[in-house]
Amino acid sequence: MSSRERILGRVRRALADVPKDDTPYERAVRRDYAREHGRRTAEQTVDLLAENLADYRAIVHRTGTDGLAGVVAGLLRERGASSVLVPPGLDEGWLAATGVTRVADRAESTPHELDRVSSVVTACAVAIAETGTLVLDGSPDQGRRRITLVPDHHICVVRVPDQVVSSVPQALERLDPARPLTWISGPSATSDIELDRVEGVHGPRTLEVVLVG
């Protein structure tokens, strides 16, 4: 007997007490929790996002569409970035005002090569106001997961208010589980020393979020 059969057999014997007509999933799980916490206008939702991002030490900037290229260029300059990773589908206009060397997100590039790049600029799939979370789904304007992981400086552009939802349940509705997702809430951190939060371990230690709209 294979272990698969053995384990499934054990599970079935263990559940001999469960009736055939046990309550189906849809009725077994009551979903009477909130779809979102509190009522807000779209503008207030964006404000809450900014507040919660900052609370977990992301650096938040706000600009209109016209100012975006200037803001991105300024952030790269202040950082002293010598190179910037660019996902294949990034809006070219976002980097129009900077002369920093562009590095394409290529399948062949090794982790060591990525480690030599200063910064990365991406879009996101959705942002969650209540938790201060950005979700990346690997779309062409966000690139492979590793490009937002190895460089130490991540600039993430969020189109507001369209890409902003209030809550975790609302975010999950918008996301496709078939895509590899990365949920980011602030720069990397650890609570492993005396259960106290310290920012900056393996992921980008600086996370800058540009809310554009």
């Binding site: 799980v29 480690d115 492979r144 190895v150 589980p177 020393i193 005396e194």
Partner: protein, 509 residues
Amino acid sequence: MSGTFVGMPGFHPHGLPAFPEAAREAVRDTTLRGNLRHATHTIRAKRARAVAEVADWAELREAGKRIKDHTLRHLDHYLVRLEESVTAAGGTVHWAADAEEANRIVTRLVKETGESEVVKVKSMATQETGLNEALEAEGIRAYETDLAELIVQLGKDRPSHILVPAIHRNRGEIRDVFRTEMGAWGRPAPEGLTDTPAELAEAARLHLREKFLRAKVGVSGANFMIAETGTLVVVESEGNGRMCLTLPETLISVVGIEKTVPTWRDLEVFLQTLPRSSTAERMNPYTSTWTGTTDGDGPRVFHLVLLDNGRTDTLADEVGRQALRCIRCSACLNVCPVYERAGGHAYGSVYPGPIGAILSPQLRGTGSEIDASLPYASSLCGACYEVCPVAIDIPEVLVHLRERVVQGGPAVRGGNKVVLKPAKGHAAERAAMRAARWAFGRPGALRTGQRLASRTRRLHPRTLPGPGRAWTGSRDLPPVPAEPFRDWWQRTQGGDGGIGGIGGKGAVK
């Protein structure tokens, strides 16, 4: 059986002292007690604030409980579904009946890649199976990359907390471990390393970076597996998880079968309750989800090893099976007055604290002294139930397991129905009684617990069957429910002695 329940070296249940002996050592270690007290008290208050922020906590908790219960009641169906979805998404599913089989599968998979080292993201399942040691025996080096796991690995230590395995270490001790041990494993600690947490984190970053960048094989666990879509979820903080999940060419995930949930939508509950319960954050810094393999992004090869190792035996127990709802948040450890005083090592398992006290004796059976004594390593104050985000009634299961230890009865071990003999007259009984005496000899511990004891519990009063009734009744009797315990013991044991001193205060040794 030896291969089945070994766990980490030093965690073989038959080689371990029973709970009270191990706890006594911890109580004597004032540094350890100070470290634990500091850490658990810090997180308690923060968790309470994080939970208070969401008005629908009770509803989320109830939904989490129901999702898990429903899944467990139909686990065969959901496991088959999960296997189909993972396979359709490009992954390969393996089934491991016990720890030895899981280790054998992983070792073979690593060898097939031709590599001799792996990077690991913290995983309770592989700690439980003792994977690192099994790999080491085959010439494969496993690097732990979670900061606390790294501290434990470098310090040749044992984990003492689910979330923060090095919680028993303070910053000064961590600095010393880094200074003396890092060099032997790779990049040494920076010159002049101080004990500020930021510098310690930086030292870990530098030390591990070279390992991440060259890694070809990653090994992980998972917090959730979604049957409907075949998606796995890893919730973390540091980014070491992302490194292990995305940079290597091959990813091997070892996950307990109870981590399954039916649908994508179910995450809307757990991604709200888990971060707030564990690190007291609105959301943890990083959560990764992946479904099989993705062209050009992340590992090209993905293996999922589904682990039983005593879980189906636990499932067979209608009272005890609720322990499988656990999402390993560690909130119950952080509020437990017994854990705070005894320390994580006293529980003799990778699962310490209240959850360990009900999980280890079910996963491993109650044959050893440590496992027979664990159900007694509690004052039944109910604080663990109160904070549990999936509402596991830990006191109820403890009482149930005490009955099993004392009275014996039917159980399932290794998939077979057995009838357990009462522990009476055996070493296990004596160990259990010493544990009970230890827990009851701490009126201070009990009072703390009773203050925390649940308002929720009182809203849902329940009477436990048999001996449990005495315990339920005793919960509101200040300050120490020693008398009811003695009554119960004498009633069930016919008052034939053997527990001298239990009713007394018991000396704090």
